[in-house]
Symmetry: D2
Subunit: 414 residues, 4 copies
């Protein structure tokens, strides 16, 4: 087990720790820790809402979750010798929940999936699911089960939802400009098209005073993935993965957080994964000048680990880029995937699940979401694959019709 | 080996066979063959351009390929007893190239991948690749290699690109209406937004005379996937797969064609798979009333086979929904996947491939394309995974830099 | 599809074909066909008993199967330029059942598994199963089911049971000497310890007269695997496999036969696989001097194909090297595997199968048999793994106890 | 993380801990801890030699390792309510090395593989490798590398080598009787045929005085696997596995130890796995009366976990039951597997490894060892599969011949 360079006390909030991380992107956020190429180290990570969400049967916390505080990130880790133009090689050695006794925080034996309400960010299927819902998942070893989505059990595909290097000043400017331009096209939209800088609740490691205020006013939010990686929500970044990040600032300034016990492709309920606090063990190295050598100037390249959960039988659903109202869209894979996911939800309700239970399951279980056809004008075809072994009942269609399960207490709503 | 109910003579064009198929969708196309639930049967299939493409080092045929003739489909197969509201269960027992000596037609020991020119339909990356290119792939058992894309070899993920049931009259009307509305938004666009009915070159099994002309004028083109399945281009429909199709007309009227020796997720070069003529063995059955029972009213549900090619190490690229010009788009996964594929192409060129070679490879090899993040406003994150074992050289980034391969004669252009 | 260099007429016995193969090993058996390095070709193969076994509900044919006639092999294929000391590279491009209409011969839509009686060769568990039993398996695409072993269905792991190069004269002498010495230790044993040369029913391609009689008297039987490969019964030699054979005679003289639609590790019922006639497509090449270069002087090296059937959940049984009578043997993995298989059989009978049905299933389905511990004196530990997905009922132990299945007509006995 | 019911202080020997385990099998060894059905708990485990082996470049410790002290086991864990005739269900929730800073003990960032000398137990290939050798493996996340076997790296298949329930008095008597009978056939053999009870160094939890001496005189050694499970060395018992153990005494009295970071099938170097100290998280449950219900009266049944390391390309070697001296043995799979392993070793030496390095690698890496043919008289065929991806160089045979690697300092010998 490597040395913990970013230890966190689970009983304290993000801002009361011995070492403070950050929740915004900016080149001037001071590194919290310095490492060197070849180093292995551990970092503890807060769950993305810093412990706001509780293990209970209410979704009130999901409805009111403070978006201004996310994501509580560990780092930045400065890598000695890293320079713009290098590729930062990051090996994910291990990742897991908080290694302590069962307690009140997500990660201590449990995690959660939330459908965010339209007024608080919404989700992939916000028009069909405008309200807030929550599912709590219990961990037993590598497996998850939920009292809110009964009759399923699956091995988590555990990974960090967010990891990335710091942007340069020029890149930060580019981000702010292009996102502001998008927001300007419909500034009052609910949910918003993008999130502008938000000084309130900004945490910037050691910055204070005027410098804090300047950086907080300029810093980009952490919600979207961007050229530096960031909140990519790639479920395949399990232990054993190697990621190659572009380096934009001296020291690279790597940060990490938003750990997920499991997630389906797309993280479709927005807070779609099984969110948890935990730890991650990393090793860093450099390919000097690698950005030009390999033509990797933006968006990380990666090699997934070789111990993801294995499934051999899948039940799959397809969708095309026609809206629910029957309007034909042109090669819109985002829409096609929404339709495929809605088809999966419609199907699962025939067994007795509520639509929200089915939706929460698709966000949390290791489902595969694929671009199947992207060129056959005017319809994209997207497909979503559910491993049948996660269900405790036979789920394949047959002449016998669906068995009826007891949906239990259902997923709490707020 | 089941009985061949749709035998084709490879030396003759689609319209000169003893049994004629079709290349349009319409409820009034007469069935070519009748089968009953539980039957197993073989159907031969022409490659989608009916033999127009040659095994040579020119892309002239790709540039001039007659889009009005596609897809040359085998069927319809009427399933006795099938009624609207049923689910048609189709087991893909086997699928493969033309089981004959090496000859002049795609499928007889070889197949092809084409990048279509902007003026003839274009492709997923049409703005970056506006011209026509071709790669010929040679088959050796289950493996493919190409003189136009050297230093790679891979086991094909063989499947039918197109399979579906006939639409009802009402559904056909809905298709025509919604697609016409889309076309009307930019009728002169090149490539077009969608393809309207095209009576020229329409083949409609036994229809002739006025009835042929009426149906040809109304029938939908086969390019896009729709509620009935159709041209879904799902690479995972390998031998051993089971597909559940909605039934919209008496007899279901199943058709199949567009066989692919292999394909990457998205079929991104448009004629992106390795196209071939061949055969497919099917078994059909019914779940009476299954559309309501399982809430499957459109877009097939399926269970992939369990003998796809296995790979354990992948090199993956990511993209977000920002255009190459730097414009921020809102959760556009289609764009994010384009960017991920462009990153993969940029990377592969550092080894010595031309961009076109890399693009053709991504269309043909069993790459995975996943929706990784679809909710993190404003950026979707899409990822594309290349199995490293298909390359005859080490392809992972390292401090040594890329080895340089000899790209050979390259991919012919027209 | 490569050219068929060894075509067989399924309606005729092995000895009445236009080209005759062989059923013994000897360096002086004349090659049937000559190929050259790089060639791809097809060979038809008779099932190992040349069509003696019938698709019926009697095991009389298994009880009386003529062991002197096996194995009906296709070849030898002389590879031009091959010399002793080379490694012969054989790619298995494809392998499958007889590509014709359903008919009377194994391979034409069906195959069989037999438990051989003690008086006719016996099997792995001969003391527990001294009588003859048979199960007929029906093929549907890549899947097998049986009226004699109901409630299971599995994708076959199709492969040649026997492939090998010709021995040199010296090697043949060595085989005969060492096997005669073994037989001499207990010459009356039933079943025998080994099979000496048997001139009766020997088929030696074109040999006739005195030369035939000389070779027939010296030639080794094909039952055991030996330095040249031969009857290795390696279930993993599926399509896509590459095998490196030592070359002992000029031309290598490769022969192949004993095709299996499927088999479990060990082929434990003796005629344990699903036996069939069929075809195999091969490509041959040479590594000149490869035996010394790679230290491969006996027993082939191989690389399995990458499209075997995939299973992700297994139910496994263990055994150690203690006899059923309680005698402790010293690190006897053969015994440990017998005990593991017996445990699997005992377990499966609690669901309603007869012991013979369970035994036949273990011989035919793609079970894994592993050496788990071979050093922990005095007990070896062997393990056998059954994929749970082959059963149509839940097979894992639980507090509910086993469901009871209807064993149907059972496996016929003779 | 479940509660640690068997905490160990890594700085202290097995006998100086707050809770003491045992290193012999006997029904009268008092349970160390009591749990109840449904409980999840952690147990720390000493490495099997209790810290005797050092991280250095000498094999002196392997040569002199005190066999009388093994295996240092954690437990027994009494399961309330368990009675003879029940099946004890044990879920392996997690297993890993000592979760602490890098230190002097195996498990703290490193582990070891040893070839035992003939005079101290020997190994699978003792005649070819009569001396002691050692390889130290360094852990980085889930991967292992070794300065003693360079140019390989692999993901460990981490599991407990030994887990089992306590024998009844009758069963203990049976073990002692049958093993004594075996020893009596050659009592002076080196290495011995089996190990009789050894009071010296016996640790029996809380037993002391006369009762300790009585039990120590009767108790069976832990080296061999037996009816109760025990030292099965099944590499597939990774996290996520479920094991069903027969219960022979009230409370079941489950014990566990001998953790392996990785192992190849057979654990062929005797101390063949990568040995380490660490922890294991378990959940226990009961199937009352399950031994009769499921016909499981001896030797555990198990279902492996679904996150083992994945490999898709394998290089395999075969062997038959002929001795190196050319003597034909009758269906001896133990011998056939020895020959297959020797072939793999011979092959790997052509790249530059010493035979000992190759042998140590086969013991430690996740190789597969299969019973391929066990019925083809007189030869068994065994096969061993090496994942090619563990090598940093191309390992498949080709016309180019083997690359030559630098074997480094080699494996130390004593």
């Amino acid at each position: 087990m490597p040395q913990n360079l970013f230890p966190l006390d689970s009983t304290k909030p993000f801002t009361d720790q011995q070492v403070t991380g950050h929740n915004r992107w900016h080149p001037d956020i001071p590194p919290a820790v310095t490492v060197k190429p070849g180093d292995e180290f551990r970092a503890d990570c807060r769950e993305w809402f810093d412990g706001y969400i509780r293990n209970d049967d209410s979704a009130e916390d999901i409805r009111t979750a403070p978006m201004s505080k996310v994501h509580a990130l560990s780092g930045p880790f400065r890598v000695a010798g890293a320079q713009p133009g290098d590729l930062l090689v990051v090996d994910i050695l291990e990742v897991g929940p908080i290694p302590q006794e069962t307690g009140p925080l997500a990660g201590q034996g449990w995690g959660y999936t939330g459908i965010f309400a339209k007024a608080n960010g919404g989700s992939f299927l916000v028009d069909q699911f405008p309200d807030a819902y929550k599912a709590v998942w219990d961990f037993s070893g590598r497996k998850a089960t939920s009292r809110h989505v009964p009759h399923v059990a699956f091995t988590g595909i555990t990974h960090p939802g967010l990891m990335g290097t710091a942007p340069s000043t020029a890149m930060l400017g580019k981000w702010n400009t292009r996102e502001a331009a998008l927001i300007a096209t419909d500034p009052e939209r609910v949910p918003p098209l993008a999130l502008p800088p938000e000084p309130r609740d900004a945490v910037l490691t050691t910055l204070a005073g005027a410098e804090h205020d300047r950086v907080a006013a300029e810093a980009c939010r952490t919600a979207p993935p961007r050229e530096n990686g960031g909140n990519m929500d790639i479920k395949n970044l399990t232990a054993g993965s190697r990621v190659f990040y572009p380096v934009y600032v001296d020291g690279a300034n790597l940060s990490v957080g938003d750990l997920h016990f499991s997630q389906g492709d797309g993280e479709i309920t927005f807070c779609g994964a099984i969110e948890m606090g935990g730890f991650i063990d990393l090793r860093v190295d450099l390919i000097k000048g690698g950005m030009d050598t390999y033509n990797v100037h933006e968006n990380p390249v990666f090699m997934p680990g070789n111990t993801p959960p294995q499934y051999a039988e899948w039940l799959a659903f397809s969708g095309t880029s026609v809206t629910l109202d029957g309007e034909q869209r042109y090669l819109d894979s985002q829409l096609a995937y929404q339709r495929a996911c809605l088809h999966a939800i419609d199907f699962l309700t025939t067994f007795g699940y509520s639509p929200e239970q089915a939706y929460l399951l698709l966000g949390a279980a290791p489902i595969e979401g694929r671009f199947s056809g992207v060129v056959d004008i005017p319809n994209s075809c997207a497909t979503v694959y559910l491993p049948t072994a996660i269900f405790e009942f036979p789920v394949a269609p047959s002449a016998d019709g669906p068995v009826r399960i007891d949906p239990g207490i259902g997923a709490p709503r707020a």
